[in-house]
Every structure is written in structure tokens, then in C-alpha cells.
């Protein structure tokens, strides 16, 4: 666990990823579908080439698919892989179909319950989902115990499913606001992130706005996650692009569609996408400058404002 004292944690994205992501480690991914995926952080993980990763999440979408497509992922544990209207997560799907990617399937409630166990410091959590389904028939075959069905000690005869705690080595999330100490304000939906972050050994937070600690202390009830759970803070405007950030900008359907076309095509087309938009960019700003003009950014920000 990171130091509990209040020390500034603002670093560059390069430094944060180099310090907390390791080959062979487990990574919790924030966001959901086309909302608030930690794209900047994931681009940096790919540039640094940390391999053999285990990915945890509830819905895993474009950020996970990029990591799989870059050949960095060994195993995924989640509730879904997809991008809804934009189609499936093609690299993920191909990896499972050709046997190069190991998966453990849970429901979304089961996954968030696993993070809940992790954040509470207990070894497992009971759920009443999964019963009767093939989620309890099949497992990844990795030898790791997926679940245990027990008899409710207070109501003998009632089956209850226990799912194991998850404690990711590092989680990577993108949020609206954070202060230099690592206090986090998530605006809008928060998916599984509060549980996942508090369950993680380290968390890298990229944020749209870096705010003063004084602002946090004035409105402490707005703090979603307090600083003891956060290891690094990176000021990274547009860090979820092309997914949306509530109150800041809408998703960019054109860019998601472009990624999906490359991911569906695979092979050379996918390799070119990575070369052009990840490896060929020194930073996430480079990528943004390549694909999202100032006019486009204004449009996406205005589209979000119109919805609030």
C-alpha cells in the first residue's frame, strides 16, 4: 500500500506508468464501454511495453482491446468485452477464439462484489447471482478457484456463491478532478471504480482538472476517493478520448469507428493503427493533435454541455 501521509503525487504519465506497472502484474481498468476509459494511461502502458498482464474490470472495452491487440495481455477477468453499438472488442474476441487469451467469466455484480471484498480487506464476498447458470459450470482451466458454493449458515439448505476478492497490483482510471494529494472527484456515473480503486495496491489517476486541496477540503462530501488510495496523479485533459467524460466532452464516434475498423481487420491494418496512433506518438497529446482538431474538441465539449 502506498504511503498514507499527504504528500504531493503529481507526476508525468510516463513516470507514473514506469513506476507502478510491471511486466506480469495485474491491472484494474476503469470506465465502461464508451465512457471515461483511461485511454491516455493505456497508450503509455503500450508504449512502455509492459507484458504478460492480467486485466480486471466489469465491462472491458476499447482500452482493454488495445492492450490485447498490442500483445500485452495474458488473462482477462470481467463481466463483458464489448463496445455495444460499435460492435464487439475484436482483439479480445479473436484472442479467446484462437486460444491465445485466457478469460474468466463473471457477471458484472460478481466482479464488483470481488472488488468490494478486496476493498474491505476480506477474502471473498457472497452473491446470489450466477446460481443455476453455466458461469458456475465452466472456468478458464487455469487452476485458480473461480468460486465456491456454500450452504447459508443462517438458512441451511440455501445455496450461496462465494467469489474471491480481487486486489489489482495497479488500477488506472481517468476522472474529472483530482488534487495533488490524490483526492479524486468522479462526476456522473462511477461504475465499479470506487470499489476497484480502494481494492488496488496502487492507483494511477489521470484527470481533466487538477484542483487545489483547499477546494477538496471545502466540499469534502464531493470526494469520491480520498488520497490514501491513490499513488499517482497526472493532469491529462482529454485523457479518456475517444470515450466520453461526463460534464467535459462527448464520445467521438468517428474515432471509435476507425479503431474498430482496424481491430476488426487485424493483421497489417491493426499494426498500422498502433504504429500511427500509439507507438508513433511520443505522448497522448501527440495522438490528440493527430486525430482531434481544436474545432472537433469544441464540438464534443459543446455536445456534452447540451446534454447536462
Amino acid at each position: 500500500m502506498q504511503a498514507l501521509e499527504a504528500t504531493p503525487k503529481v507526476v508525468s504519465l510516463k513516470e507514473a506508468v514506469a513506476r507502478f506497472v510491471r511486466t506480469g502484474c495485474s491491472v484494474g481498468l476503469g470506465g465502461q464501454n464508451i465512457g471515461r476509459c483511461a485511454m491516455a494511461g493505456i497508450h503509455e502502458v503500450i508504449r512502455q511495453g509492459h507484458r504478460d498482464l492480467t486485466i480486471y474490470g466489469c465491462n472491458l472495452s476499447i482500452s482493454m482491446d488495445l492492450l490485447v491487440g498490442a500483445g500485452l495481455v495474458r488473462r482477462c477477468e470481467s463481466g463483458t468485452g464489448n463496445l455495444e453499438r460499435f460492435g464487439t472488442t475484436f482483439c479480445w474476441r479473436r484472442g479467446i477464439e484462437n486460444g491465445t487469451l485466457e478469460v474468466e467469466d463473471y457477471s458484472h455484480l460478481a466482479m464488483v462484489s470481488r472488488f468490494l471484498a478486496g476493498e474491505m480487506g476480506v477474502p471473498f464476498m457472497p452473491v446470489k447471482s450466477l446460481l443455476g447458470s453455466d458461469l458456475l459450470t465452466y472456468s478458464s482451466g487455469s487452476g485458480l478457484k473461480k468460486f465456491q458454493v456454500i450452504d447459508n449458515p443462517w438458512n441451511p439448505g440455501e445455496p450461496v456463491v462465494l467469489v474471491p476478492a480481487v486486489t489489482p497490483d495497479v488500477s488506472i482510471i481517468h476522472v474529472q478532478k483530482a488534487d495533488p494529494l490524490g483526492n479524486v472527484i468522479i462526476e456522473g456515473f462511477a461504475t465499479h471504480e470506487p470499489e476497484m480503486v480502494r481494492a488496488s495496491r496502487h492507483t494511477i489517476v489521470t484527470c481533466e482538472e487538477l484542483v487545489e486541496t483547499d477546494q477538496i477540503r471545502r466540499d469534502p462530501e464531493r470526494t469520491t476517493i480520498p488520497y490514501p488510495h491513490v499513488s499517482a496523479v497526472v493532469h491529462q485533459p482529454w485523457g479518456a478520448y475517444p470515450t466520453s467524460t461526463y460534464r467535459y466532452y462527448d464520445y467521438d464516434g468517428d474515432e471509435i469507428t476507425r479503431y474498430q475498423a482496424a481491430a476488426r481487420a487485424s493483421g497489417g491494418a491493426y499494426r498500422r493503427y498502433l504504429d500511427d496512433y500509439v507507438y508513433g506518438c511520443a505522448s497522448f497529446e501527440d495522438y490528440l493533435d493527430k486525430v482531434c482538431s481544436p474545432t472537433r474538441r469544441e464540438e464534443l465539449a459543446a455536445a456534452m454541455q447540451a446534454m447536462l
Binding site: 470506465g31 465502461q32 464501454n33 464508451i34 465512457g35 471515461r36 465491462n59 470481467s78 463481466g79 463483458t80 468485452g81 464489448n82 463496445l83 455495444e84 453499438r85 464487439t88 472488442t89 479480445w92 474476441r93 479467446i96 477464439e97 486460444g99 467469466d105 463473471y106 457477471s107 458484472h108 455484480l109 460478481a110 464488483v112 462484489s113 468490494l116 452473491v127 446470489k128 447471482s129 450466477l130 446460481l131 443455476g132 447458470s133 453455466d134 458461469l135 459450470t137 465452466y138 482451466g141 440455501e158 445455496p159 462526476e187 456522473g188 456515473f189 462511477a190 461504475t191 465499479h192 471504480e193 470506487p194 470499489e195 466520453s244 461526463y246 462527448d250 464520445y251 446534454m307 447536462l308
Partner: protein, 258 residues
């Protein structure tokens, strides 16, 4: 006679299954249109619940994802996945849940995980998401799907979300808290419900102009038939107008040509 498409009638018929005041757990696509239509017409007090954490939003047209900000507009709370899947759904406070999948079998079980063998899939599908949780805990289950033989096999390749598993008491035996959920599968040919005696799908209503024989021919198992089989009521012009102009004005999900 009102000009409408079968897809539009599917949405309206699904909406008819929702009652005013219901807590409705919904994703995107046609279920979202059905819920929004119900809220706009006969069920103004229904409560949308969305997996990403939105509770009771006043939905703007037309969200394409559960994380779409259009699905969060003026919610009473934008919370967490645990709050909606745990504190509302598993807690037993959700009345209606929509489900979707590639296969629905004779017992109403749903597969959204894999076609073929789990270990060596022919096609890998997205997985459960909240589907297993909805099927486990909602009191009434709604499915909106095209009626094709391959979508209705005798047995799913993989049961992602439990219907009646393999018989009337199977859910209770498995330990599910909602032992006998009501069930409606709305397709472009018919509405199928669960026959209480056998826990198998039966044809309850037919879409206008469709015969029992047509449904049989497009179903991979022998569906039971209710007596009598009724007909799905066609929409009136105002319902079609609301759907086209207010619920999906840009034709994101609805094909406008009949």
C-alpha cells in the same frame, strides 16, 4: 389502417408489459426505446435504472451505450454499478429487467457468452455483463429479439442468464431468490411466455397476420401454444408518431421504411 413496421410494433408491445411505477433495469437498443416509450405514454412514473449507475434519468434521445450521457440526463442519482446491480437489483427492488442474447432455449435460458464449445469457441460473444444478474433477480423478464430458428435452439450452448433452467422448480432448487419470474419474449412473429406447468415457452400472442405454423417453422424447438392464441394489438397513429418523432427521431435503432 396505421402505417407501422413490425420492429415498431415489437417496441410498443414490449412497452405494454411495463406498468406505471415499475423499476425497470434497461440497457440500450430496442429495450431502451420500449422503456422510454412506456415512460412517455402510459407509465410516466417508471424508474429507469441503468447499469453504469444512473437512477431515474429523464432519458434524451437516443443513447447508444449504457455509459452514454444521454442516458444520465437529469437522473436523481448518478451512482455506481454496485448500487444498481447490488442495492437495487440483487436486493430485490427491480420489477422489470430486459435481457438479450444470441440464443434463447425452450426454458427461456439465454446465451450471450459463446457459440460452440466454451473452451474452443466457434464464436465468442460479449459475455454476461449484468445479464445474469438481471435474469437472477428481476421479478419480470422481457426479451426483444428477431425470430429466427438459430436464435431459438432446444438448448443453449451455454446458459449465461437463467430462465427456468430445466423445469418449473429448477430456479428454486438452484437457490435463486426469484423462483418464478414472469417472462415475455417479444419477436417479430409472436409473443412467447412461460407455461407454468412445464416452464417451457409457449406462443401467447401472434403478430398481425402471422400464423402458429410460421412461428413453429422459425423456432428450433416445438413451442407450446396457448389456448386461445390472441393477436397482438396493432399500434394507433399517435403511438407510431411518438415512437418516430420523440423516442428515436434520428432512426438510431428503428428502420423507418415499412
Amino acid at each position: 389502417m396505421t402505417d407501422y413496421t413490425l420492429q415498431e410494433l415489437m417496441v410498443i408491445e414490449a412497452a405494454r408489459q411495463i406498468r406505471d411505477g415499475d423499476v425497470v433495469f434497461v440497457g440500450t437498443g430496442l429495450p431502451l426505446l420500449a422503456t422510454a416509450f412506456a415512460q412517455r405514454t402510459h407509465a410516466p412514473n417508471l424508474c429507469f435504472v441503468v447499469e453504469s449507475g444512473a437512477i431515474a434519468p429523464l432519458v434524451l434521445p437516443t443513447p447508444i451505450s449504457v455509459s452514454d450521457p444521454r442516458l444520465m440526463h437529469r437522473a436523481v442519482r448518478l451512482g455506481t454499478l454496485r448500487e444498481v446491480l447490488g442495492c437495487l437489483l440483487q436486493r430485490g427492488l427491480v420489477d422489470v429487467g430486459f435481457l438479450g442474447g444470441a440464443q434463447i432455449d425452450r426454458f427461456g435460458n439465454i446465451n450471450s457468452t459463446v457459440i460452440g464449445d466454451y473452451a474452443k469457441p466457434t464464436v465468442r460473444l460479449p459475455g454476461s455483463g449484468g445479464g445474469n444478474d438481471i435474469a437472477s433477480h428481476a421479478k419480470r423478464l422481457l426479451i426483444v429479439t428477431r425470430h429466427e430458428k438459430r436464435r431459438f435452439p432446444p438448448r443453449c450452448d451455454y446458459i449465461t442468464s437463467p430462465g427456468y433452467l430445466n423445469g418449473p422448480d429448477a430456479r428454486a432448487k438452484a437457490g435463486l431468490k426469484v423462483t418464478h419470474p414472469s417472462f415475455a419474449v417479444v419477436t417479430d412473429l409472436a409473443v412467447l411466455e412461460i407455461d407454468p406447468a412445464t416452464a417451457q415457452l409457449r406462443i401467447a400472442r401472434l403478430m398481425p397476420g402471422v400464423s402458429v405454423e410460421q412461428v413453429r417453422k422459425n423456432t428450433g424447438f416445438e413451442p407450446l401454444v396457448a389456448h386461445p392464441v390472441r393477436s397482438v394489438e396493432p399500434p394507433n397513429p399517435e403511438q407510431v408518431r411518438i415512437l418516430r418523432e420523440e423516442i428515436d427521431p434520428n432512426g438510431i435503432y428503428l428502420k423507418q421504411s415499412p
